[in-house]
Symmetry: C2
Subunit: 200 residues, 2 copies
DNA sequence: GATGATATCTGAACACCGTTCAGATAGGCG
DNA sequence: CGCCTATCTGAACGGTGTTCAGATATCATC
């Protein structure tokens, strides 16, 4: 990463987002600093301010990329039309948890409302898009129970709770060193066993 | 909080924990700093190091206090023996979420494995104790489904997920400005509706 | 009670952080 | 060409956690 020759970067905004994304991916959120991102982009510490206002602005962009990536993890189960609705929910749970473990820095950032510009309108859009699939699966699976928002949120909460607790090391109190997939399967078995009869 | 007269504090360790706990309670985790805690205790910035090693050590103590408080929020539903098992789980979910909203700084800290000394043995003890009640309720309620650890973790994950998502403002995408209690009720309705028949 | 060992705390230093801002530089456009 | 505006520099400021030699107090032992 040799120092730029030109005084003007050309596309500093994009470069800073890429640098920040890489830091969060490599070192997690604690390893991130605005100055380090500037350093990687070969630019002075004051440069990011013009493009992002503050560190929150830059981290918001990284969080948005995280939602895109999450959507990619959740897509395959939906595209497989041969799967039952219950199977789809199952596979999305595994995908959600795998995303959290594959991209812990992004996952944590996405749910750190203090580190991010919560009021960015794109933020709501992207999270809605990422969860559209989950919403569809939850509704298809869970036709009989409660009203729509309750179904979606209940499913989301159960899956998100697994991911968060596993990521932060809380599952080991119950399961020792069992794999995340095994933990998810056991929890799903308990949560889905309540179902009266598998739909379609 | 006038400056101490004595060179030695007397019980600095306790004073620092109390100060840190107060900061987290008043200003949240982002408002916390080791130096501010030292300032409140009327002591130099280097003093905490001797008692806690690093900032993680002090924050671990605050997190432990958080678990105690959580246990207090979860206790009443268990003590009410007239309640059905489902009702107990319901009330514990509301208690868990209320704790998160009443003590956001503590809640976030308790699940920030980067900010805390994860390997502190007391950490596992206290979290186990706080969740014992939840475990008992989950098992009593959910006799038929899955094996024990799966039942406990599934219930915990669902409840924790609600609390986390609500606290970080993610429920508003689905429910607007609805109260947390209403959101929890709707999600519980969907999750519990799957039950074949109410036990006992 | 005096003496020595040990625990405790100070205060200055260090490296780093995010943010600000006057000024240097470049590109776009008349 | 010359100007205007966006962009970026680099130094400064106040803040952070951590380290450490040295000052101070407590405690055990004589």
């Amino acid at each position: 990463m040799p120092p730029r020759r030109a005084y003007h970067h050309g596309d500093l905004r994009t470069a800073l987002i890429a640098a920040a994304d890489a830091i969060v991916r490599e070192q997690g959120l604690e390893g991130f600093s605005l100055r380090e991102a500037a350093r990687r982009a070969g630019v002075s510490p004051g440069a990011p301010a013009h493009h992002f206002g503050s560190v929150k602005g830059l981290l918001t962009e990284v969080a948005l990329l995280g939602y895109d990536e999450l959507a990619r993890y959740l897509a395959p189960p939906l595209e497989d039309t041969t799967e039952s609705a219950e199977g789809t929910v199952r596979r999305m749970a595994h995908g959600y948890v795998r995303f959290a473990l594959d991209h812990p820095g992004h996952f944590r950032l996405m749910f750190r409302s203090d580190a991010v510009d919560r009021d960015d309108p794109r933020y709501g859009d992207v999270s809605a898009r990422a969860l559209n699939g989950l919403a569809a699966a939850a509704c298809a699976f869970d036709k009989a129970s409660g009203q729509t928002e309750g179904r979606i949120f209940g499913t989301w909460a159960a899956i998100h709770g697994m991911a968060h607790l596993i990521l932060e090391g809380k599952a080991q109190y119950l399961f020792g060193t069992a794999s995340a997939d095994a933990v998810v399967d056991l929890a799903l078995a308990a949560l889905l066993a309540r179902l009266p009869s598998p739909p379609d």
